[in-house]
Amino acid sequence: MTLATDTTRPRRMPQSLIAARNIVGFLLRSPTSAFGLFVLAVLILTAIFAPLLATHDPFLQDLQNPLQPPGDGHLFGTDELGRDIYSRLVYGSRISLMIIFLVSIVVGPIGLFVGAISGYFGGWWDTILMRVTDIFLSFPSLILSLAFVAALGPSLNNAIIAISLTAWPPIARLARAETLTFRSADYISAARLQGASSARIIWKSIVPMCLPSVLIRLTLNMATVILTAAGLGFLGLGAKPPTPEWGAMIATGRRYMIDHWWLVTFPGLAILSVSLAFNLLGDGLRDALDPKQMNKR
């Protein structure tokens, strides 16, 4: 046993940094989640450096040469208004990332909050909150988003709100189930014996325990969010036409699809690779954050 050192303060930052480094290391060891991480990194970098990466102005129409095939100055060809598809895809990554980010920061806390409260308190709280959750869960999410967007009016912001409103119930369910497994644990009893308020117990003891599975679920959800956003865009209820949103690009390209395949193929591939990447990353995170792996860290 070593004697007391001068550091009695907890060293928090290094601990969480080490954990983050270990998780990334773990993800990179498996090829599938490494691929997910790689695509995500490419997506983020593309969004940040869009003005540098784009070869043309994504809004600039060139009616002299519409529907040009890929190559010849336009990497992925041009659409029906002569706009460069590659540049539009690059700028579209910003919109996709923004949708994912906003939906996640809305959905994660709401789901966690509702689930933790209903799991921890039980009784009436549980009944009321879970029945509300059931109502939201009983609609297919795209249909419910459609209804919300129809009510709120079509725009990107309303699409984000609509997707958020439909994406929280599974997270709440998950957080509740996790909470139920911890609520009778001895460390919760110990916290109650120390006089901790319910809010304190939920925030300090229950939320950290639910967080890994909620993060995994959110990551897996991001694929669905992208697809729903693309679906809404495709139906003309998401981003307004000039905005280079990937789903909206497919929607307008659909009319020329038979003769001009590049109009739908490249946005489709972008949606496919990003949603695949999030799925793979979520799977990898599930392994990386598995409590059984905790002791290895």
């Binding site: 110990a190 109650r192 901790a196 300090k204």
Partner: protein
Amino acid sequence: MKPIAVKDLCMSFGAVQVLHDVSFDVAAGECFGLVGESGSGKSTVLRCMSLLQGQWTGEVSIGGVRVRDMPLNDRCRMVQMVFQDPYGSLHPRHSVATVLSEPLKIHGLDRANERMAQAMIDVGLPVDFLDRFPHQLSGGQRQRVAIARALILEPDVVLLDEPTSALDVSVQAEILNLLSRLRTDKGFTYIMVSHDLSVVDHMCERFAVMQSGRIVEILPREAIPTNAARDPYARELIGASLAYERAV
């Protein structure tokens, strides 16, 4: 040092009554044992006394004040509990420092670092273990942390719910000696649940034998080696324990 009085404690889970008129008195500074087979209601008595279970009838008072009448913060500084399983009683994502500083923050106690260091010294752990997480500690060290958490609020009464049954024998002895030393140093009153009569013999002045939610007999420690119990169930339990010890 505070005496404890438990009178006519009754408790039901739905239609099933699990405690029937449990009454006993514990003198200030005494260590009182509760023994019995699994499911006899030993731990439930402790959970009722600490108000982790609220739906009971009867009266529990500590130092002459009924626990139900105590404000939450006073009660927390009066009664603390050490749980059976040190692997389940520490939050897996809280460092030792967090475990010990939470109660100090809740009760707004000053000199937090000093108190935390003192608690670590009291339970015989090096102060730099404050940075560790439960998975970096052994079972005995975890139980020491759990004891430190109980005593950092300077309670008068410590409820011990089989504090050594999840530990192996050599560590058991260490923890029991630590608990005895803390009792003499700090003047705690202990109520200790155990199914191991040799632990009770080592720690407690008196003990109650429980069977299906009732106290069948209260005996002094000296009754164990001679099996001086009058109640047939208590005789059987002590006899079985003595026979087991001889066999070992």
